[in-house]
Amino acid sequence: MLVALGCAPQNSSTTATDTSTANQTPADCAQGKTLTDGTLTIATDSPAYDPWFKNNDPTNGKGFESAVAYAVADELGFDQSSVKWVKEPFNKSYAPGDKDFDFDINQISITPQRAKVVTFSDGYYTAAQALIALKDSPVSQATSIEDLKKYKLGAQTGTTSLTAIRDDIDPSQEPLVFDDTNVAKQALLNHQVDAIVADLPTAFYITAVQIPQATIVGQFQQQSGEPEQFGMLFQKDNPLVDCVNAALANMKSDGTLDSIEKKWLSETVSVPVLQ
């Protein structure tokens, strides 16, 4: 019995921060570092929401994160047919043990606490928080963070939106916490919550398509520390992250990342900022 328990494979401790990567392309770097040779396995949650994906289908390359994922894959030398998508519920993505994906792209914010448990790529998007309320609600008149304190606010569990409510707004009523944005939307329509906080692109999608009766009241950056960035999630110490970071660096310098952002998240410009 003890013998059987001892047979779990050891994690290889090769760190890929060889200085020789300086001259390697990301594609060379990625050789042999994926779960399956010749295939890049990417994970995201289900449902895969707009505007990060489209039609709940990561494989179509549409939507910000889908586009970024395929662009990174391309840099790493994987064409569209060599990319495989798997579904990974958020709670499972950071559970201990071996992952069944190369990386997970799912609007996951990089925090130092989380970085102790998993490895993050560099940030590929900087997220602002936005406040959504029904058009005829008094909340839509708010112009500053102070104005928001007296309302019942809501946000998704485990997100920086929730932390933003707790830390930056600090309302007098306990915030409502939801498992996913669908529940948050229903509560808004039922007047069970006055306003919900979500990241800006999601907020646009909600107000444009899902709850046309709602409007974005304003956006705000969190007061404390660095602005939040989304990163791709890897198993701890996975050497592939360096290759991905190199890919991202390329995409940033040659403008690919910017144009993807412009294409899929273009409406983020004219929203008032709440101070």
Binding site: P96, V177, Q192
Partner: protein, 287 residues
């Protein structure tokens, strides 16, 4: 006749037997202790020497995370879970008793209620509780009926009460029906009305008989209060999940589990004690 003092002393044979029994007992104790140590020792050893153990320990048993998450969980536990199961249990018992009594009544005027009671118990034992929480907490306010509250807490509580009420009603009904018909006959013979016979004779005995399953359902309810998380109520489990999601650590779940275990153990012992006492009373006439 004067009583003679008892002058018995054990015979040699008896002393031999006592010695043999003593040594048999010692051997048993030795064997059971060894077996226990071996089995549990092996389990513990197996766990801590497995390669993933340091990782699991950090993820599930991190003292720092436990401390960090503790206040939110404690607060949520008392604010939601405890209130839900204390208030809920009372409401459940009342509802269940009404349903159980209605189901076994023979009064003609109550037939429509009887039908409703049957439909109720079938329907609400069929619908998963978590689904009910979700449907009531978001569906009812969405109907936007006059005078109907929006409150998630109210609907979450209602869902629990409706769901558990159905199960507990069946338990009570089985308790009531298990009372020997001669008890009803005795009550009838004394001139008690049907209602009086139920109130003073059948129901008190019937309920005592099903105290163990009732307490079991209560223990189950305590866990199921966590289902209100589906409605966005920030109970202890949701608080744990929130911390876990944000900090990528599962220790708060272990903390919540411990809370529930600590709650359950005294109730389990209470169940044993009450059942023992109740069954003693039932065994009259068996001599």
């Amino acid at each position: 006749m004067s009583s003679t003092p008892d002058t018995w002393r054990p015979s040699d044979r008896e002393l031999e037997r006592q010695a043999v029994r003593r040594s048999q007992r010692r051997r048993s104790i030795l064997i059971s202790t060894t077996a226990t140590v071996l089995v549990f020792g092996a389990l513990v050893l197996g766990t801590v020497t497995s390669p993933g153990w340091p990782n699991v320990k950090a993820t599930f048993f991190s003292w720092d995370d436990a401390q960090a998450a503790f206040p939110a969980i404690w607060h949520a536990f008392w604010r939601y879970n405890v209130v839900l199961f204390m208030v809920g249990e009372v409401l459940i018992l009342i509802l269940a008793m009404l349903v159980a009594l209605v189901r076994q009544t023979k009064a003609a005027a109550l037939l429509p209620l009887r039908i409703i009671a049957v439909v109720y118990t079938d329907l609400f034992r069929g619908i998963p509780t978590i689904l009910l929480v979700f449907m009531l907490a978001f569906g009812m306010p969405a109907l936007q009926l006059q005078g109907v509250t929006n409150s998630l807490f109210f609907w979450g509580l209602t869902a629990l009460v409706l769901s558990y009420g159905a199960y507990v009603a069946e338990v009570l009904r089985s308790g009531i029906e298990s009372i020997h018909p001669s008890q009803l006959a005795s009550a009838d013979a004394l001139g008690l009305s049907r209602f009086q016979a139920m109130r003073y004779v059948v129901v008190p005995q019937g309920v005592r008989r099903v105290v163990p399953p009732l307490l079991n359902d209560f223990i189950s309810l305590q866990k199921d209060t966590a289902l209100v998380g589906a409605a966005g109520l920030f109970d202890a489990l949701f608080a744990a999940r929130d911390y876990a999601n944000f900090n990528f650590n599962f220790t708060p779940y272990v903390v919540v589990a411990l809370y529930f275990i600590v709650l359950t153990i005294p109730l389990a012992r209470l169940t044993d004690y009450l059942q023992h006492r109740a069954m003693e009373r039932e065994r009259q006439g068996a001599r």
